[in-house]
């Protein structure tokens, strides 16, 4: 699976949400997932994506957050890739 990395740590709103929403256009089930690197939990974005059936996993590394967005059917692949 292809990992689409989006580093939004230094972007002001609405930049982070804009970038992830725009990458979402090219995220395909079974083919790709998004890996966002951010300075906090992007709660507004997560709550915006949840009703669309996009799932996510958050991993925290010190003050950096790694958020993975994917289609529900790709969960096991993504979990394997990111080692949770």
């Amino acid at each position: 699976m292809r990992e689409i990395v989006v580093d939004t740590r230094d972007l002001e709103p609405p930049g982070p949400m804009q970038m992830v929403l725009s990458e979402l256009q090219s995220m395909l089930p079974g083919e790709s997932f998004i890996h966002q690197i951010h300075r906090m939990e992007p709660t507004m974005l997560i709550n915006r994506l949840a009703p669309m059936g996009i799932e996510y996993i958050i991993k925290r590394d010190g003050s950096t957050y790694h958020i993975y967005y994917f289609y529900p059917e790709d969960r096991s692949h993504v979990e394997e890739r990111i080692d949770v």
Binding site: P13, P14, Q25, R39, M40, T43, M44, R48
Partner: protein, 393 residues
């Protein structure tokens, strides 16, 4: 292939907006009361409920669905249901405390209990059900518990006034309303908003995690035991919050000077000064003014200059409009700086000659309304257009 964003996901912007626009009007009422020398408690509540509580209820109505995932059914109707008694109650409270209209005391108590007590209860029930309770959510829960207690105590004070009895528990009401409700809510909202808008790191977990529960515990102990030193613990904890937050804003990666950051920095300086004044001097009216006008109102102005354009973007983009001006273009930076200078001038006059601040408070709130006019008009202009999603999918 991903095909579109849900259209009705965001709660309508009209709900918080109703509250955001009412607040400066009450600040203007407050400035007129100040000019004409109405009772100090009427002026105090024109700002504490009329301005601050309106903003905070509006902000919570907006934040809870998108930040916490807590939904209100029929958000516009819910907003109106709280807004009407809150307006009526605030006016009645001002009439009771400022003009001795004791016949209105019970009406004020009932409507404010309905509006603020009801809002606190409903929101608490929803927050307790939130799947994940971040530190921000915990601070909000404690703030709402404080609001509930403070409103009940306020009702008790009004009942005593109406019956001509001596007021008991006055300092408790003030402490829970000011430091529990206003203070803790700002702590919770800052956890969420400062890293998001100002590209700072979060506060270190060792400060962030225990801070709000510690403040609440100290306030409750003060309420129970009425020992003055417990109140100084509250001061000490707010001092910690102010210094840590100021430091984060100081360290931020982007060094462009922006008025909204300056409002937050002013707020934290005043919070630190208030806390030191409380620790070493005492809790008099200057302490209240510095906390309420210097800290809380500065945070509110700074926050709204970010949140209003952001929400406009958020709502319009979730309906598929992406050709709108950027957030920076929506708020005139020059006028926002001017607002900050007027705010600092009102504050210095409030702390010294007090009454002479009235015209400046009036001016700053008219200017505030003028500045937020652009994003709001943009929202309503786009709202009338059909969503591009509706035609493309």
């Amino acid at each position: 292939m991903f095909d579109g964003v849900s259209l009705d996901q965001a709660p309508p912007f009209e709900a918080p907006l109703l509250f955001f626009l009412t607040a400066p009007l009450f600040a203007i009422v407050g400035s007129i009361l100040l000019e004409y020398g109405a009772g100090e408690f009427a002026i105090l509540h024109a700002f504490s409920i009329g301005f601050l509580a309106f903003i905070m209820v509006g902000a919570l109505l907006q934040m809870l669905p998108v930040v916490v995932g807590v939904k209100f059914e029929r958000p516009k109707r819910v907003a109106l249901l709280f807004w009407l008694p809150l307006v009526g109650g605030t006016l009645a409270l001002i009439a009771t405390l400022g003009f001795g209209q004791l016949s209105l005391a019970l009406f004020a108590a009932a409507t404010l209990l309905l509006a603020l007590g009801g809002f606190a209860l409903v929101t608490l029930v929803k927050l307790f059900k939130a799947p994940r309770k971040s530190d921000a959510v915990i601070a909000m829960i404690l703030a709402l518990l404080s609001l509930l207690l403070a409103t009940l105590l306020g009702g008790h004070l009004l009942a005593a006034l109406a019956r001509g009895k001596e007021l008991s528990l006055l300092p408790l009401h003030g402490a829970l309303a000011g430091f529990g409700w206003v203070g803790l809510l700002i702590v919770g909202v800052s956890y969420q908003v400062i890293p998001m808008f100002y590209i700072t790191q979060e506060l270190p977990a060792i400060v962030r995690r225990p801070l709000a529960p510690a403040i609440f515990a100290a306030l409750l102990s003060y309420a129970l035991f009425q020992e003055e030193w417990l109140f100084k613990v509250v001061d000490g904890l707010f001092l910690l919050f102010a210094l840590a937050t100021f430091w984060r804003l100081f360290q931020r990666k982007r060094t462009v000077k922006e008025p909204t950051v300056a409002f937050f920095q002013v707020a934290m300086i005043f919070l630190a000064a208030t806390a030191l004044y409380g620790l070493f001097h005492g809790h008099d009216w200057r302490y209240l003014v510095a906390f309420g006008y210097g800290f809380a109102m500065s945070v509110v102005y700074g926050m709204l200059y970010k949140i209003i354009p952001f929400l406009v973007w958020f709502h319009l983009s979730s309906r598929g409009f992406f050709d709108i001006p950027t957030m920076r273009e929506l708020i005139s930076e020059r006028l926002a700086w001017l607002h900050l200078y007027i705010h600092l001038a009102s504050l210095s006059l409030l702390l010294t000659t007090t009454k002479s601040a009235a015209p400046l408070i009036l001016a700053e709130n008219l200017l505030f309304l003028w500045i937020i006019k652009a994003p709001i008009l943009l929202y309503f202009r786009y709202k009338k257009r059909p969503s591009p999603f509706a035609t493309s999918t």
